[in-house]
Amino acid sequence: MSDWRPRAAGSRVARARLLAELRGFFARRGVLEVETPILGRGTVLDPAMESWHAQAGDGAGGREGGWLQTSPEYPMKRLLADGSGDIYQIARVFRGGESGARHNPEFSLLEWYRLGFDDRTLADEVVTLLQEVAAADPAWHAPAPEPRVVAYPDLLDEALGVDALHDDAARLQAVAAQRGLTVHGELDRDAWLDALMSLCVVPGFPPGRITILHDYPENQAILARRSRERPGCAARFEVYWGDLELANGYFELTDPVEFRRRREQDRARRRARGQPEPAADPFLEGALEAGLPDCAGVALGVDRLLMRLLGEDDIRRVIDFPWGRA
């Protein structure tokens, strides 16, 4: 093969430096580095996330299989329930069907959990991390000092006059059409919200500035608890650098009953859409039953952070062996 050569020589030293800076950041704060399996018995059922299935011979003429993790969230929560205290991990994760200028199906995810934090205080810590890391090398790009903090429903209202909590799919589709956006394929309400946010609003985020988007509609809570301040919303946040989504975090859901309800809802959505149904993780439920301490957690894309620090627009410029050459 003529394609043996690595592609991101210009970013290699910076990546090593970044990993060291991230580890330093957590060491200074007394957050423990952990490792959890990337291959598991089960995985998430979130319909927006496709898990890779791995198979191997079992040595006895048969085959055994497992699921590559889309994030280390579930096993890290089991550590928290076991009394680990504050923890972080830089994990390799895998997501099917995600490939492009900002996606690689295998990537590095920095995930950390803080006891006694909520979504707001953890979002602040993400901003501190970005600023400290960016200051580590004078050649790196740094975000503007003051982040913009805005609630998801307020942003959609300001930008498009949309009521993110009540407008139905037809109304959202009409707003999109006014903006010249038509989509081939049937979209439900949540997918229309995603379309408006990702295709109409986020591209206009101020470049070079961090935006914290918080109070997501409850339907998009995933594993965040309900917002105390804002009915109909979840204590979930996302962090953008310019128009690039870097991190997603929650004031963590600890209620096992609500966890089961959301998992079954995800399963039902998958079935309704004809999506494949992977084996559900069999362990997290038990950890929630035993008791997850009050905490907030966030996952941050390391490759994307490296893109922004180096001013690169394509993730394949910061990964030596991107998908297709891996």
Binding site: A48, M49, E98, S99, R102, V183, M197, S198, Q220
Partner: protein, 187 residues
């Protein structure tokens, strides 16, 4: 009926959309970490030449357009149709003026062109990127004026008119960039 899923989208793929054959120019994958994925696609309408942008929900399938690009030799025109032939099979195709979309002004008999067929019918003709043509008419050049960089119109043997430097004379053969319609050099 062949179809392509959005995860097969890449530059050059030919799709049938709104009844027209289109070729993907650019495919951008957009997905919020925890949300619906989309493909934002720039496509060239192969019939009109116009570039349009379309958004697909990822996972959707789109009908493939039966489009084939083949190298053909230009034979002659009969005033109504321009006739081309595939050198391997000697199969001949008659192309209307509309499908030529201006490329006829660069074509000399026996030139090789890229002819795009849609469902077996000629859809468009792309002249070679560079052609060498003789000047059949232009005003005499003015000696000593070359440094000024002035130009004058010259009519070529195919009827096309291009701007040439003042020192270029009638009867000379010149090289022309057909995509820009510009003089490149004397031959």
């Amino acid at each position: 009926m062949a179809t392509y899923s959005t995860n097969e989208f890449k530059g050059g793929l030919k799709l049938l959309l709104d009844g027209d054959p289109m070729s993907i120019v650019e495919n951008e994958f957009v997905k919020p970490g925890k949300g619906q994925a989309f493909n934002r696609v720039k496509l060239r309408n192969l019939r009109t030449g116009r570039v349009v942008e379309k958004t697909f929900k990822s996972g959707e399938s789109v009908e493939a357009a039966d489009v084939l690009e083949t190298e053909m030799q230009y034979l002659y025109n009969d005033g109504e149709f321009w006739h081309f032939m595939t050198p391997e099979s000697f199969e001949q195709y008659a192309v209307s003026k509309a499908a030529l979309n201006g490329s006829d002004q660069w074509l000399k008999e026996q030139d090789m062109c890229t002819v795009t067929l849609w469902n077996g019918e000629p859809l468009s003709v792309e002249a070679p990127a560079f052609v060498e043509l003789q000047i059949t008419q232009c005003d005499p050049g003015i000696r000593g004026d070359t440094a000024q960089g002035g130009t004058k119109p010259a009519t070529l043997e195919t009827g096309a008119v291009v701007k040439v430097p003042l020192f270029v004379e009638e009867g000379e053969t010149i090289k022309v960039d057909t995509r820009k319609g510009e003089y490149v050099s004397r031959v």
